[in-house]
């Protein structure tokens, strides 16, 4: 397997991203611009359909005057950088114990049956990619799937399908819990401290 995939198309930051990149670089002392490699890789990934091509990696390397190998080391170390093309919606399914206990297996089955993709695969139409990941830190709303930048929480086979259907139609379902609750508040509204205090 090759380390990186070349597209043959030149990569260049948009003027807007160049500005952002300069802000990141300015956060570090002069001559230590290589420290900005991670935010810049992220910028590049966002601009490049959520993955890093060889051109994007080398562009970042040149931008920061860092050898390509050093950029590649960082990019291969962190799972947040995709080194091959992913779908429009990048599903990161949490498989760590709390999510697993709360039914992440069902969500995996949905992906398999509905989208026809397993871990690391992309649908043929290029809409969805699935990656199993470790704890996303939202155990209180388990099970959770991260879709691009947003967490979709309290999923089960049914509402996960609804979310996927909406995404496929081009709609963006509201992020957060997919059941009747606000953030990690109790389902169906408050359960305690229901009585008002004060003037009683």
């Amino acid at each position: 397997m090759s380390q990186v995939i070349a597209t043959g198309k030149a990569f260049e930051f948009t003027p807007e991203n160049v500005k952002k990149a300069k802000v990141f670089i300015a956060k570090y002392p002069k001559g230590r611009q290589q420290s900005a490699v991670m935010p810049l890789l992220d910028l590049a990934q966002r601009q490049n359909e959520n993955w890093l091509s060889r051109e994007a990696l080398e562009y970042v390397g040149n931008f920061l005057d860092v050898p390509y190998m050093r950029v590649l080391e960082v990019a291969t170390f962190y799972t947040m950088y995709n080194l091959k093309p992913v779908g429009k919606y990048f599903l990161q399914l949490c498989r760590t114990t709390p999510c697993w206990l709360r039914g992440s297996d069902d969500l995996e089955a949905v992906c398999k049956n509905k989208l026809g993709i397993s871990n690391g695969e992309t649908t043929e139409d290029g809409m969805f990619s699935l990656l199993e990941v470790e704890c996303l830190g939202a155990c209180v709303n388990a099970p959770v799937v991260q879709i691009n930048d947003d967490f979709y929480e309290d999923l089960n086979a049914k509402n996960f399908e609804v979310v996927l259907d909406k995404l496929a139609k081009g709609e963006v379902p509201p992020k957060g819990p997919q059941i009747d609750r606000i953030n990690s508040a109790p389902e169906g509204g408050p359960k305690t401290l229901l009585e008002k205090t004060g003037d009683a």
Partner: protein, 683 residues
């Protein structure tokens, strides 16, 4: 100065010393894989664990600075168990393929698992396997064996200055790889083979050819460039199996350049193993007597002025002394050791030496490189410059061809005009030189093989004089040679005598007899009218135009002295015998001299060396750099417009041995960007 106790022994060490170094000072042996004294500290193999009192856990001694009052135990039960544990983890994914591994017998992992391992394995699961990587024609990879010490990555990044090697992925999936699987493009790449503590990186040319315990190890000197790296020639029977570096802090530290390391297969190819005589236009194998008779007949009654001799780039000091004496006996002033026509003269020794010494580079604080690419001309000196540059506060400027030297430098200009500007103090870098306490100038052969070289040399001397390059304990004037033979040749006076011809005039066909002592890097096109005697080891350019060929010994086949660019005489030792009828070079000249009735006054190599000492006393002090007094050299004159051109166009093919080497040819096609039109080895 922290004082600590190691196994009951009290040691005081310099601040900044690690616990591991302190332990070694106290005489305790600490096993290690990732730690290497010339590389940065990684601390990732955990083999160097020791027990420190008041610490709940064992500490990694390589990464822990020695502190005052520490009490260290290196042999306690806890340490023993810690080492066993570290060893067990390292061996989890290491294949047990020692019988088919080239590192077997000289493997750190093998040795240390014998000494510190538990002896049995509790691991029954599958081991991971890693795809092999392509690292070019020199380095064979078996990455499954890699234990991720990252010595190779650190060496490439820190010493060699190439950032192509790295560790990709993480955890169990970590792999050492080059960017895009490119070959590792460095002149020092072979050193990662030595550094690798396991059999992950081994020598491709040496693969499966020998085991370390069946090799005869001969400590010798490299003669393929002018650095004079200390080498160990490993031979089996009458075959050189490989060449490894030997520690010499003042010369090569423990590194060796690729050309010196991997040219050894050239010692077996294109060899001249019997005398040849040109009969009816064709070279035919003859006996020594017939060859000598032909020369004697040709020389009989010939005027000395019609005879000339050129000494080549690999010639040893002994053979050059014998050649010089023979030419004197023949009354010939036509002798030269400067094949490339360098404008160096013999009157002032410091005018052709690397006076600062190689180790001295580390004390310098500014450097001007003129007409040289040290990366190709002396890769090990380049590594030293890089080492100094990495310490910081070392401004480097370059006049000559623009190139990547592996360290940051200011590019001043291409030709002598820029040099004149600096010498006149008009250039900004002149101020830096002026301000520096120990500034250096390195002039390469690219500055010296020109028509105006005497003037260029005078300019560099002017810089040396005007900008404080000379003080009581510092000489910052340096000539970087490319030929191992050059300094000894100049020391022994192999330059044209009064009215004598230099190389260029000798090659125009005006001589009746021309003696080439391993001289191949010359223009042989107009030698048809001359009777050419070629003495050397390889059938290269010189041999192809010869009328008589006298087969000599290669540098691994004779006891001989070479003087490196610093002026350091070093003793090379014979590892194997010359092939066939070939003989040690000075003995050939001695035998020939007897045949022509001008017997040289020495019968043994010791008598010959005594004569050398008479001419140049420093030959008596082996491995000593005798400081040379400053004096006059160079000649002021007009300089030309043209840019400096570096002499080496292809690093891998600079001498007849390398040109005969298949490995070097492969390297040349892989790495050298120059287009070559034939190698000149086909005769």
């Amino acid at each position: 100065m922290p004082t600590l106790t190691v196994d009951g022994v009290e040691v005081t060490v310099d601040p900044g010393t690690t616990v591991l170094q302190a332990c070694e000072e106290a005489g305790a042996e600490i096993p290690r894989f990732c730690y290497h004294e010339r590389l940065s500290i990684a601390g990732n193999c955990r083999m160097c664990l020791v027990e420190m009192e008041k610490s709940p856990k064992l500490i990694a001694s390589c990464a822990m600075p020695a502190g005052d009052g520490m009490v260290i135990h290196t042999n306690s039960q806890k340490v023993k168990e810690g080492r066993e544990g570290a060893m067990e983890f390292l061996l989890i994914n290491h294949p047990l393929d020692c019988p088919i591994c080239d590192q077997g017998g000289e493997c750190d992992l093998q040795d240390q698992s014998m000494a510190y391992g538990s002896g049995t394995s509790r691991y029954h699961e599958l081991k991971r396997s890693v795809a092999e990587k392509n690292m070019g024609p020199l380095i064979k990879t078996t990455m499954t064996r890699c234990i991720h010490c990252t010595r190779c990555v650190r060496f490439a990044t820190e010493v060699a200055g190439v950032e192509d090697l790295g560790a990709i992925n993480r955890g169990e999936n970590m792999e050492i790889a080059t960017y895009l699987e490119q070959a590792l493009d460095s002149e020092l790449s072979g050193n990662i083979i030595d550094l690798c503590p396991v059999g992950a990186l081994t020598s491709k040319p040496y693969a499966f050819t020998a085991r370390p315990w069946e090799l005869t190890k001969t400590e010798s000197i490299d003669a393929l460039d002018a650095v004079g790296a200390n080498i160990r020639v490993d031979s089996r029977g009458q075959e050189v199996m490989r060449i490894l570096p030997r520690l010499h802090e003042d010369v090569n530290e423990e590194w060796l350049s690729d050309r010196s390391r991997f040219s050894y297969d050239g010692l077996k190819a294109q060899r001249l193993d019997t005398p040849y005589l040109r009969k009816d236009g064709k070279l035919q194998a003859v006996g020594w007597n017939e060859a000598f008779d032909a020369i004697a007949a040709k020389l009989d009654g010939l005027d000395g002025g019609k005879i000339g001799a050129i000494a080549g780039d690999i010639a040893c000091a002994e053979s050059m002394k014998a050649l010089k004496d023979l030419m004197d006996l023949l009354n010939s002033p036509n002798i030269d050791c400067r094949q490339d026509g360098a404008a160096l003269t013999t009157e002032t020794r410091s005018g052709y030496l690397f006076n600062s010494t190689i180790a001295g580079i580390e004390e310098a604080d500014a450097l001007l490189i003129v007409g040289s690419n040290p990366r190709h001309e002396a890769a090990l000196i380049n590594a030293r410059i890089r080492k100094r540059w990495k310490m910081g506060n070392f401004p480097i400027a370059l006049i000559g061809e623009q190139m990547d030297l592996g360290y940051g430098h200011e590019y001043l200009g291409a030709g002598p005009a820029t040099l004149a500007e600096v010498a006149a103090g008009k250039h900004s870098f002149a101020k830096i030189l002026k301000k520096a306490k120990r500034p250096m100038i390195i002039a390469g052969q690219g500055a010296l093989n020109r028509a105006d070289s005497a003037a260029v040399l005078a300019l560099t001397k002017k810089i040396a004089d005007d900008f404080g390059l000379l003080s009581d304990d510092w000489n910052g004037f340096n000539i970087l040679h490319t030929a191992a033979a050059r300094v000894a040749g100049l020391d022994l006076g192999l330059v044209p005598g009064e009215g004598g011809k230099a190389v260029k005039e000798m090659l125009d066909g005006s001589l009746d007899v021309l003696f080439l002592l391993g001289a191949d890097e010359i223009d042989t096109s107009r030698l048809e009218t001359s009777f050419v005697i070629y003495q050397g080891s390889h059938g290269d350019a010189g041999a192809s135009v010869a009328d008589v060929i006298l087969p000599g010994a290669a540098y691994t086949e004779k006891d001989a002295i070479w003087v490196n660019t610093e002026g350091r005489p070093q003793l090379g030792r014979r590892a194997i015998f010359p092939p066939g009828e070939a003989r040690e070079d000075w003995t050939i000249l001695r035998a020939l001299s007897e045949k022509i009735g001008k017997t040289l006054p020495y019968n043994t190599i010791l008598e010959l060396r005594a004569k050398m000492v008479e001419t140049a006393p420093h030959f008596a002090d082996i491995d000593v750099v005798t400081p040379a007094p400053w004096g006059a050299f160079g000649a002021e004159g007009a300089i030309e417009e043209s840019a400096f051109v570096n002499p080496i166009t292809d690093y891998y093919l600079t001498n007849p041995i390398s040109r005969s080497s298949r490995i070097m040819a492969e390297c040349s096609t892989t790495f050298s960007k120059v287009k070559r039109e034939g190698t000149g080895t086909n005769g």
